[in-house]
Amino acid sequence: MRSRRRAMVVACFLAPALLIFIVYRILPLVWNIVLSFEYWSPLHPATWAGLDNYQEMLLDDDVFWQALWNTLIFLGSQPVAIAMALGIALLVNSDLKGASVYRTIVFLSYPLMTVAVAIIWHWMYNERGGLINYALRQLGIIHQPIAFLDSFAWALPSTIVANTWQVLGFFMIVLLSGLQNIPPHLYEAARVDGAPAWARFFRITLPMLRPSIFLCLVIGMLNSFSAFDLIYVMTNGGPGHATELLITYIYKEGFVSTRFDYAAALTVAQFAILLLLTWIAHRAVGGNAGAIE
C-alpha cells in the first residue's frame, strides 16, 4: 500500500522531466536509428537501405575517419586540461589571500556564449590585429605571422586552446570541490608518518579525487563531442577537414549535403562511441563512478 503510494509520487515527480527528455532526446535518437537504415530526404519517401549507410561510413568515407580522429584528439586534450585545472585548484585551495578572486578570474570564461568565445579567439589568432601573433613576434619566437586557423598543422591545436580556455574554470571548480571534501585528518596522519608532499599527493589526494576526475572526464568528453558552435564559427571544419569533428560533419552531411540518412548513421556511430568511452572511463576509475550514485 505504502510502496504503491511511493511509486505514484515518484512517477509524478519524474514524469515532467522525463517527458522533456523522451520528446527531445530519446525520440530523436530512435528516429536517427531508424533513419540510418533507410534512404530518406525531406522530399523523398523513405526506402529500406539495409546497412548501406554504415558500409559507406566504415569502408568508403575518409572524412568520417578524419573527423573521428580529430574528435579523439580533441578528447585527448581534455585530460591535459584537467591536469592543468588540478594544478590551479591546488594553488587556490588554501588559505591564500585573494584565493576567491583568482578562482573567479579562472572561472570567468566558462559562462560565455560559445559563439562569442569563437569570435574572440578567431580575433586573437588574427595575423595582423591578433594578440597572439603580435606577442610571439615581439618576443622573437616567430618572424613571420602564422595564420593559425588556416594552417593544417595549427588549426586543430588552436581550436583546442580556445576550448581549454573556456572549460578550464569549470574543471577547476569541480576539482576544488573534490579537494575540499578530503578529510584533513588524512593529511595529518600522513604528515605524522613523515610522508613527503609528493607521496601525500599520490596516495591521498589523487585517489580521493577519483569521483571528481571522473565527472571532469565525462563532461570533457561530452564537451569535445559537442564543440559545435566553436568549430562552426572559428573554422567551419577547415582548412580541408583539418578541424572537422564528428558533430560538425554530422551537421554538414545532414543540412548542407542534404543526406539526413547518412548523417543519422554518423549520429548513431557517435552515440555508440560515446557510450563505449563512458564505460571505459567508468572502468578506469575503478568502476566507482561516485559522481552519479
Binding site: 522525463l18 580556455w165 570541490s177 554530422i250 550514485e293
Partner: protein, 268 residues
C-alpha cells in the same frame, strides 16, 4: 609563509593569461581606427564608444535582449521545478531507479545537432513554433542539474527526513519544507547553469524562430557577423554587449553558485 609569494606569482601569471582575451576584446571594441593595423596597439588609442552606439542602431538590441531574457527566465523556472522534483524522486528507493538513471545519463550522450528535425516536427505539432515556450521547451530540464539536486538532497541527514515523515508530511512538503531550504547552493547552481545554457543556445532558436521579433541575442550575433564581417570594432562591441548580461548574472550569484557546484558535483 615563505611559499605564499610563489603561489601568488603563479596565480597572477595564470590570471593574466585567462584575462588576456577579455582585454583584447574590450580594447578592440573601443578602437576607432583600422583594427587590422600592424603592429596593433596594446593600449587603445583615443578610445571611444562609437561602436556601441553603432550596434544599438544597427540591430534591434533591446528586442533581442528582451527575447533572450524571457526565454532564459522560462528555462530557469522550468529547470528549478522539474529538476528539483526529478532529483528528489531519484533519492527515493523505487523499482527501476537504476534504469531511469542509466536512461538519463544516456540522454546526455545524444548531440542536439542530430535531433533538430524530429525536435522541430514535434514542436510544430505542439503549435509552439516561433514562441517563447517553444524556444525554451527543450531546455526546460537538464540532466546535470538533476544530479546536482540529487546530490544535494542525498546530503540532507536521513534523521531529518524521517522525522518529517513521522510528523505526517507528504513528499511534496518534504521537498518544499525540508529539502529545498537546505539546498540553496544547488538552487543557485541550477539557476546559473540553466540560465547560461539557455542564454547561449544558438542552433535551436535559429531553426524555430521565423520573425525578426523573436530572435535571441546569439542569433543577433551571428546576424551581425554576416552584416559587418569582422572588419570593424563594432562586432567586438556587440560581443561585449552580448556577454555582459550573462557575466553579470554569474558574478551576482557566484558565491552561492560555487558552493552549489562544490556540494553538488561530488558527494565525497
Amino acid at each position: 609563509m615563505r611559499k605564499m609569494w610563489w603561489r601568488h606569482a603563479a596565480l597572477i601569471v595564470i590570471s593574466i593569461i585567462m584575462l588576456a582575451p577579455f582585454y583584447w576584446l574590450l580594447k578592440t571594441a573601443v578602437t576607432s581606427e583600422n583594427i587590422y593595423e600592424y603592429p596593433p596597439h596594446l593600449l587603445p588609442v583615443r578610445p571611444q564608444l562609437f561602436n556601441f552606439v553603432d550596434v544599438w542602431y544597427l540591430i534591434p538590441f533591446p528586442r533581442y535582449l528582451f527575447n533572450s531574457i524571457v526565454v532564459s527566465l522560462i528555462a530557469v523556472a522550468g529547470n528549478l521545478v522539474l529538476n528539483a522534483m526529478a532529483g528528489f524522486a531519484l533519492t527515493l528507493p523505487f523499482v527501476g531507479r537504476r534504469s531511469v538513471i542509466v536512461l538519463l545519463l544516456s540522454c546526455t550522450l545524444i548531440p542536439f545537432q542530430a535531433t533538430i528535425i524530429p525536435a522541430y516536427l514535434i514542436t510544430a505539432h505542439l503549435g509552439l513554433l516561433n514562441s517563447y515556450l517553444g524556444l525554451a521547451l527543450p531546455l526546460l530540464s537538464t540532466i546535470v542539474c538533476i544530479f546536482i539536486f540529487k546530490a544535494s538532497f542525498d546530503a540532507v541527514p536521513r534523521s531529518l527526513i524521517d522525522a518529517a515523515r513521522i510528523d505526517g508530511l507528504g513528499e511534496m512538503r518534504i521537498l518544499l519544507r525540508v529539502m529545498l531550504p537546505l539546498s540553496t547552493p544547488a538552487i543557485a547552481t541550477n539557476i546559473v547553469l540553466s540560465f547560461i545554457w539557455s542564454w547561449n543556445n544558438f542552433l535551436w532558436p535559429l531553426i524555430i524562430t521565423r520573425s525578426q521579433d523573436m530572435q535571441t541575442l546569439p542569433l543577433g550575433l551571428a546576424r551581425f557577423l554576416s552584416y559587418m564581417e569582422d572588419t570593424t570594432g563594432a562586432l567586438y562591441a556587440f560581443v561585449v554587449m552580448v556577454l555582459a548580461p550573462g557575466l553579470l548574472v554569474f558574478l551576482m550569484a557566484q558565491s552561492a553558485f560555487m558552493r552549489g557546484l562544490t556540494t553538488g558535483a561530488t558527494k565525497g
